[in-house]
Symmetry: C2
Subunit: 206 residues, 2 copies
């Protein structure tokens, strides 16, 4: 890799979000620069944004709710949009929807309301023609949501990620990506931190 | 209840589906008449079908993935659409998407392809202006999908429901309901059976 260009990461500030194109074969690296932060990720097929990652399809085809290196993220049309090619954490969530004004009112009635990852994703994705109602359950990077086997009860506890931990996902085709630095108290142990990301070009055809 | 009208149940034949309106306050009873059958259920807000039940919002607000009497089904707009008011089984799934042509090809490559619950829901919901891509993860009544706590692995095993078992859901507002008698082999132990449903009117205002 000595001839690889150094890719300067982009910064998603605390409690904000971004959207961008990820071309087929490109690899998205999402880094938790300080540790213990969550990033909600969405992927839509760029050629038709009605196609979007689906937790239900992904759980079905991957036969697990715990996704890590080698697992793929499937769309509502039963096609692969992203593949996880590296993961230094191994603990992510695909059960819960992005925090929003409504979830702030519900879970944190004594704290100021924030538009949350949902509002940040909606704002960032709007230029791509994606409406609020089309935002499904996100793949929540580094989010730590244990499920009790006997009762089904879930809890949201601080991520196990430490500074510099990362996950890498390769696009199976051209995607519109939505990505946040999470705004909720519980998901990151009450500390709002940035998220870094970088895009590595697809290898040149042989 | 001696003056209550006997409500004749409607029958959803094996491997088929239906869609209908459920008014605010009405109670939908879904019965497994022979036992060990699954029914995929969807609910959309009748006034704007872009609002639909969301497993992620429901897991978040109910703080469990195991839903039974007293739990509510929340929409992508953080509002309650249905409440479970009775449940003789206590074992349902909200993790997996409806079986479809693609899932038949994936999981049963040696068996004939069927349009599955997805195709049945899409056909039944089409007159209500609901497109295929708007079909999210369904609430799969009687479906038995254990999750291993340590690994996150899931499996689809036969339902625990016996003949006559039922679940009752009250509409918090006018809904479009989609409902199937499941078409997949694994979800019902390889036996395709009908599903019955009935709608009980809302109580008269006092």
């Amino acid at each position: 890799m000595s001839d690889a260009k150094v890719i300067e990461p982009k910064v998603i500030g605390p409690r904000s979000g971004a959207a961008f194109l990820l071309g087929a074969g490109e690899i998205l690296t999402v880094t938790d620069p300080q540790g213990c932060q969550v990033a909600d990720l969405l992927a839509f097929a760029a050629h038709d944004v009605r196609e979007v990652i689906s937790n239900g399809r992904t759980f079905d085809y991957e036969e697990t709710i715990s996704l890590t290196t080698g697992n793929r993220l499937w769309s509502n049309r039963s096609r692969v949009l992203l593949e996880i090619v590296e993961d230094t954490v191994g603990r992510h969530d695909f059960l819960l929807t992005p925090c929003s004004e409504a979830t702030f009112r519900h879970f944190y009635p004594d704290k100021p309301v924030h538009r949350g990852c949902f509002g940040n994703l909606a704002a960032a994705l709007s230029p791509y023609g994606i409406e609020e109602d089309a935002i499904p359950t996100a793949f929540n990077l580094f989010m730590n949501v244990p499920v009790e086997q006997d009762t089904g009860r879930i809890s949201v506890i601080p991520p196990t990620s430490v500074a510099g931990d990362l996950i890498r996902l390769r696009a199976a085709e051209d995607c519109v990506i939505g990505l946040t630095a999470c705004s909720a108290y519980a998901s990151n142990g009450g500390s709002f931190k940035p998220i870094h990301y970088a895009i590595q070009p697809a290898p040149a055809p042989v």
